[in-house]
């Protein structure tokens, strides 16, 4: 992390640094009340008393780093995302202070600063929107529905009700049952050795030349990596089994080289 904010005590004479420390201290009081680093940044930005689009990100970064530093001095446990934000802001701060490097790839420090200001403005806008939403007339508080929905007919029809949430809940209940695992989904990606044997056995009579093992994978199993892995493994295991029974020969020229197989006729055995 950049050192320039670590040398706090040396700058305590600087009135601005003192003000930032006081601001950091004020935040520390209810760090529990914050919803993440963006929330802290938004609170800090209010001390600048400017339009969020014209905010000084550099100053904001300094304030935030002072906040994290203060928390550290007080041996306060800050959640990991606060520290990630601190690291990122320290990086941004150093980038903002240095002249831009023309060789540097990627977004400029200004772009990053603009985006941060945008994020803060958007968060604040959503806060305000939430407040406006909650200030609307609520059904059941300001506006009321029919108190006595009418039942006229004697013939009652039962309507069964289930929501997608019910469906998802019962499915997840089934899927997390410890003593049992459903099998149907698993099987889709698994080519068993029995299946591989069944596939290879009739083919062996026709394989006179050395042929790459991969040519024996079942159709459609060579695209999806998980399926290919399963089919390769089981096909290979099946060839070992068949070689043991004297039905074929196996050959591999070098380590990790392609494995080739050749059928063995009854005569050459």
């Amino acid at each position: 992390m950049a050192e320039d904010f670590m040398e706090g005590p040396a700058r305590d004479s600087d009135p601005q640094a003192v003000a930032e420390r006081l601001a950091a201290e004020a935040l520390i009081v209810d760090v529990e009340g914050f919803e993440g680093p963006l929330d802290v940044l938004l609170t800090l930005s209010r001390t600048q008393k400017v339009d969020l689009r014209a905010i000084s990100v550099l100053k904001l970064a300094r304030q935030y780093l002072a906040f994290v530093e203060r928390a550290r001095e007080l041996r306060l446990e800050l959640a990991a995302d606060y520290l990630v934000m601190a690291a990122w802001l320290a990086f941004l701060k150093s980038r903002l202070l240095l002249p831009p490097d023309p060789e540097e790839e990627g977004p400029s420090a200004e772009d990053l600063a603009v985006h941060l200001a945008f994020q803060l403005e958007r968060l604040e806008a959503m806060r305000n929107a939430a407040a406006q939403l909650m200030a609307l007339d609520h059904l059941g508080r300001d506006v009321f529905a029919r108190g006595e929905p009418q039942n006229v007919s004697r013939a009652r029809k039962v309507e069964w009700k289930a929501t997608i949430l019910d469906l998802m809940k019962s499915y997840s209940r089934l899927r997390t049952r410890d003593d049992f695992r459903p099998f149907v989904m698993d099987r889709e990606g698994v080519w068993t050795m029995e299946e591989a044997l069944e596939r290879l056995r009739p083919l062996m009579g026709h394989v006179g030349d050395w042929t790459d093992l991969m040519a024996f994978l079942p159709e459609g199993w060579d695209v999806d990596p998980a399926r290919r892995r399963s089919a390769t493994a089981s096909t290979f295991a099946a060839t070992l089994e068949l070689a043991k029974n004297g039905r074929l020969d196996l050959q591999q020229d070098k380590t990790f080289g392609p494995i080739r197989i050749r059928g063995r006729s009854a005569g050459s055995a």
């Binding site: 108190g147 069964w160 459903p182 099987r187």
Partner: protein
């Protein structure tokens, strides 16, 4: 709307009282007596006069102000009662067995009854499947090309409509269920656990890969 309401002595104009009676009668779960109305309206209101105005306003309309014993209520006009037959539906929550069966069909379709029973760990009653078919949420799919050619079940268009899905693929996956906090017990084993394959083969004749 005017400051009459704020006055302890001056009641709102009768037309305003009529609006009030209308709203109160509409929202009330049971008929209200004149005393009930006086208790709820601002001081000095004349509930019988407001009721009379309101009743007159609704004459010949689709709903009417009716007297129920010594109380008042708004009810639909008797000549329109034929429209109300659908209002009498009683909603009941689907049983756990039915919800689970439906969930399995939705997530695993096409699925046979034996597979549903295997996943649930209990047998599926005939009534459950019939109920889901009657609700037009599941229907018979193709027969499985395995010994016995068992029937399979799939979900219907009506199911998708009811649950607001555009396709069965829109059902959230297990990972998303967990992300939404719906699945917080032990994580399920990896999707492709090969150790199960032996046991599976004993129980099931593999089905040919079906086209999606």
């Amino acid at each position: 709307m005017d400051d009459a309401r704020d006055s302890l002595f001056e009641a709102p104009p009768l037309s305003e009282q009529e609006r009030m009676v209308e709203a109160v009668l509409f929202a009330s779960a049971k008929p209200l007596t004149v005393a009930d109305l006086h208790a709820r309206l601002p001081h000095g209101c004349d509930a019988p006069a407001a009721l009379e105005l309101l009743a007159k306003r609704y004459e010949g309309r689709g709903v009417r102000v009716v007297r129920v014993g010594d109380a008042w209520a708004i009810r639909t006009a008797p000549d329109l009662s034929f429209l109300m037959t659908r209002e009498t539906v009683e909603t009941r929550k689907l049983s756990r067995a039915a919800t689970e069966t439906l969930a399995i069909v939705a997530y695993h379709q096409p699925v046979t009854r034996a597979e549903i029973e295997e996943i649930r760990g209990v047998s599926v009653s005939k009534g459950t499947v019939e109920q889901l078919m009657e609700l037009d949420w599941i229907k018979l799919g193709r027969r499985r090309d395995t010994p016995g050619r068992p029937v399979t079940f799939v979900v219907t268009r009506g199911f998708l409509d009811h649950f607001g899905l555009s396709s069965p693929r829109d059902l959230p996956g297990l990972r998303e269920l967990r992300a939404a906090g719906l699945l917080d017990s032990t994580p399920p084993p990896e999707a492709t656990a090969p150790r199960e394959s032996g046991a599976q083969n004993e129980l099931f004749v593999p089905s040919p890969p079906e086209e999606e």
